[in-house]
């Protein structure tokens, strides 16, 4: 733990520094796998599944029998939780539907935007010991609401060639069209290029290790858009003398258990609260199953004491956290001052895990400082806003001469001419 008392603004850069993430040294390996998948399709994907996941597959698609089997293997309690979380996520993302209004920008000139779903999207869900079924809900639910026609999901199988049943149930609940057993770079390649069985998609979403991250970067140059750049998860908690130290400590630890590269920052306006949170954190840490990971993360964590709420918000905005918990009693006033953050949790009861699973907000968020320029996944992430315009003869009369003048000055004579011949025609009709 780094305890920093009353830093000056010139210290902010150091406090806000993230570890440098550079996956370029993986580029050659990743490019090789991608090229193989592009050239050899399913056969290449299956070979890499055998090599990396030790799974011998005869087909990539998850079968209807496997889907039914999964339904029996997931407990009724987890199934009910998935349905409740899905309802809330659906309700919030449904509320984000966009209805473009026609705007008459000048007499006879009408412009509007229309939100149109991306036809084919691909979702990547990593494997490993902890199945990220919550991410299935977060990525597939808005895709379904947006109206994407093809929602493809790739996730690595275990050695027995099986996908975790909770992932399959979550995919069914959220409306995924096709599920394939493929992980890592080969999964990203399969979705970016398409194979005999995996449809090519236009945008790829989802987390992954540094190989997946490098693969997403590479395919994003030419073959498929991606949701956002990746990085280790992080939380910033703002506390004052009214905060609940046990809650704050639990929230810091819930971030710390993710991985040893997770970022944890506490900003407190009260020294007493800072001390109390440190004590609580140590007490709660001792009984955590993943306490070894959390302990290592905490070594790099920052506990910062500031003079007042303005300083707290200035430091938080400079840091641009993925998750920001404002655990003070004046959270409404502070919420107004948030400029840079992914998702914000207000008050004593909105813990980060509420948003990670079931409040309804999306948990796929910009981390590593990317919140300065990116937002998290939302309904817009699955849509494009196509613009439309219509001009009447009146519209040509009103903006035509300006268009001709500007085109002439940009030395684009054919641009000028396209409007000029219309102006000439309609001026006769005036």
């Amino acid at each position: 733990m780094n305890i920093i008392k009353y830093p000056s603004i010139s210290d902010y850069a150091t406090i806000c520094e993230r570890p440098h993430l550079d996956v370029s040294q993986l580029n050659a390996i990743v490019a090789g796998v991608l090229a193989d998948v592009k050239a050899n399709g399913d056969k290449a994907v299956m070979e890499y599944e055998e090599k990396f996941d030790k799974a011998q597959l005869t087909q990539l698609a998850v079968t209807e029998e496997e889907m039914q089997e999964a339904e029996c293997l997931v407990s009724p309690e987890l199934k009910a939780s998935l349905v409740l979380a899905h309802q809330n996520i659906a309700k919030f993302h449904q509320s984000q539907k966009f209805d473009g209004q026609k705007v008459e920008t000048a007499p006879g000139v009408v412009c509007w935007q229309k939100s149109v779903a991306i036809e084919k999207v691909g979702l990547y869900i990593p494997g490993g010991t902890a199945p990220l079924f919550s991410t299935v809900l977060m990525l597939a639910t808005p895709a379904k609401i947006a109206g994407c026609k093809e929602i493809v999901l790739c996730t690595p199988p275990n050695k027995e060639g099986k996908v975790n049943p909770a992932i399959l149930v979550a995919a069914r609940v959220a409306g995924v069209s096709k599920i394939f057993k493929a992980g890592g770079v080969q999964a990203i390649g399969a979705m970016a290029y398409g194979t005999e069985s995996v449809p090519k998609v236009y945008k790829i979403f989802g987390p992954g290790n540094q190989y997946v991250m490098a693969a997403k970067q590479q395919v994003s140059l030419h073959d498929a858009a991606i949701d956002m750049p990746a990085g280790p998860s992080e939380v910033c908690v703002i506390a004052d003398e009214t905060s609940n130290a046990a809650y704050v400590a639990a929230d810091l630890l819930s971030q710390a258990e993710h991985g040893i590269d997770s970022q944890v920052i506490l900003i407190s306006t009260s020294e007493q609260m800072l001390d109390a949170v440190i004590k609580e954190t140590e007490a709660q840490l001792a009984v955590l199953p993943r306490h070894e990971i959390a302990e290592k993360t905490l070594v790099n964590s920052q506990f910062v004491l500031v003079h007042d709420k303005n300083e707290a918000m200035a430091l938080s905005n400079a840091y641009a956290p993925e998750h920001l918990i404002i655990a003070t009693d004046d959270y409404e006033a502070l919420a107004e001052k948030v400029i840079n953050a992914g998702s914000v949790f207000l008050g004593n009861y909105a813990c980060e895990s509420a948003g990670d699973y079931a409040s309804g907000t999306n948990h796929t968020l910009p981390t590593h400082g990317y919140a300065l320029a990116y937002n998290g996944v939302n309904l817009d992430s699955y849509n494009r806003k196509v613009t439309f315009q219509h001009l009447s003869q009146d519209g040509v009369r009103n903006i035509g001469p300006a268009v001709v003048c500007m085109a002439e000055n940009e030395q684009l004579e054919a641009h000028a001419n396209a409007m000029r011949i219309r102006v000439k025609d309609v001026m006769g009709n005036a």
Copy 2:
């Protein structure tokens, strides 16, 4: 001209093919310039300005005197046209303002989105013989409406160290905060990293040559977001027997004059119209100042005859054009069927140049097939939608158990614990 009659669906892929754009062979050169700018700031930028633009500069910032001089150099007619175009662009982008509504996803759980401007944005405007002042309006107007605090513009000077006056006037009209004389890779580096005089920005917008494109790709991996991937400009026109052949020809030529890599496609349901447009195109081409460029572009253009409107829309959606002109009398019905396009122009009078300059829609659009997954620049491009959530004790009671169950099943015990201790507290209060 390639004239293709009644293609089958299996021919669409060939018709829709774009030239392969690969700037990776430039990566080493570009990386060298970027690293130099990062290390040496203004000094490096000035050296590259001397090397590439033959301009000897003692400072990068455009001065107030230069701004005033520009006002005198731009004709009143062009100034009035810029103001009219700016008004329309402002009106349309103003209408895109987002007001997030609070949604109670479950009793006691309230979620909402808030649109927050990216604090610092950078706009790149290329140099060359034709000054792209229209792009200044397109990029700076929404930045100002969004509320970006710092709007930085970089554009290369001429050999005399001067920036085109129309660019400066457009920048003043649209509300740019700071203008710098810098072009190419060094400009992208200056904005991505910041120098002594150029502020670091969080997102970079604007067109450029393949070096600029490679530089934007490189900085987007770590240092600044970018608007969208780049590619040569393109138009698709859908015509039928009711279209005006002279207008359609003028629209095709206005795209063809951009550069020899521009893409031009006509899809007609009428063979007579197809022939008439070909004749008109040849006649109009002869008198164009840039007819050499347009002529070369037309060699690769495609004139496609289809059976009916459904086929026309299917082919257009497969192509995913940057600009789509629906020059038929049933344009309203066809507009409903647009799935993949950047900006759509409806009827006889909405020529592409209307949208390029003054209708109000943005002309920074996804090309090269990127319209499958991207939209053009709009107000959202300068904002992030930050999510907020608040839980009351009731909220904890309603979603708490599901959160705990899901976290336990994802083997994230600290996540479960953060909610569990709140559930325990509020259950006592029930």
